[in-house]
Amino acid sequence: MLLGIALAFLMAPLPVLVSPRFRGIAGGSGFVSRGMAHLALLPVYLAAYGFVAAGLRRVGYDGAWSPMPVGLVNGLLLYLLLFTVFEAVLGKVDRSVSFRILRLVAAAPAQTVALSRVRDAFDEEKLIRRRVELLHAHRYVERHNGSSALTAKGRVAAGVLVALRRLFPY
């Protein structure tokens, strides 16, 4: 089991490093890029597990690192779940307005900016219009005769969000 755990923790950061390469295929979405990179490197994880397990068997090792069927499944589960940790952090870095405000202030001379400058830079209308463009780009919304409506993908996403809000009314 330890072999699967160790390999999962060792290999899970790799997809994050290569995820910018998936940007074109993922339509510019950070979440999709990281998810695709994580899945694309799954065979590498399996190959590494097989390689190390075969090596351990060959030398007759029977310690904590010895391979077992559940160890592989458990390692795979950990590898996939580690995606949630990276996404929890990098997803915020990608999208969070709060983080962008903080970076703007930190990058300013004497780390000070006027409130009006922040309001100009993060004009709510501009931010909302940018999100509308993003939803169009990722095909959650499509244009029809001057107005826009949800696509089937958008309706599913909105339905899931409504269900989640009903189940977890925080």
Binding site: L81, A88, I128, H144
Partner: protein, 194 residues
């Protein structure tokens, strides 16, 4: 094997508990976005109790499937449970904490098949006010958590805590894939320049 089953069972219990808490103890003000994860941490002693109470061979599986080292198995269960909790917390932040995209999607959902124009979406998201509700909420959060400090002349200053976080975000920016649409609007500036 015992740890995997117990971690799964405890996560199922956590999910049900998180559904019940706001119904049993509703609060007028919003809870922290990390509330679900805090509840998950509070349940960790229960995992230890269950692990001690449930025998190692409680499942009818071959011996080769069982981890013989208790410490490895126990820690594995904690890892699985916490990773599942992080995933749930992240999902709830996306669904419940009202980020822009979620609000915009909800406006389109209310509009139905007839659709909505960009101006309708802006009105729907700002509730017809021009006070910058989202921006004020974020500024309040940054100020109340000590990342920024308000000056008497109306300016905002980054605190040492804020500067540390900004540095960390700058470092993590190297591994992110910012959206193509957002990049265009940022005119190829650095990750977070506005």
């Amino acid at each position: 094997m015992r740890s995997i089953v117990l971690a799964g069972a405890l996560f199922a219990g956590l999910t049900i508990l998180l559904m019940l808490i706001p119904r049993v103890r509703p609060r007028r003000t919003g809870r922290s976005i990390f509330f679900p994860f805090c509840v998950a941490l509070a349940l960790l002693p229960l995992y230890a109790l269950l692990y001690a109470a449930v025998p190692a061979d409680f499942l009818p599986v071959p011996n080769s499937w069982m981890e013989s080292r208790t410490v490895v198995d126990f820690c594995n269960g904690i890892c699985l449970y916490l990773l599942l909790a992080v995933g749930l917390n992240d999902l709830l932040i996306a669904a419940v904490s009202q980020p822009f995209s979620t609000d915009v999607l909800m406006v389109y959902r209310r509009a139905g098949r007839s659709g909505a124009g960009a101006d309708d979406v802006v009105r729907g998201c700002t509730r017809g006010t021009d006070s910058g509700r989202h921006l004020e909420r974020r500024l309040h959060h940054l100020l109340s958590h000590g990342y920024l400090r308000a000056k008497e002349d109306g300016g905002l200053v980054a605190t040492p805590k804020g500067l540390r976080l900004a540095g960390l975000i700058g470092l993590l920016c190297r591994f992110t894939v910012t959206s193509a649409v957002e990049d265009e609007s940022r005119s190829k500036r650095t990750c977070f320049s506005a």
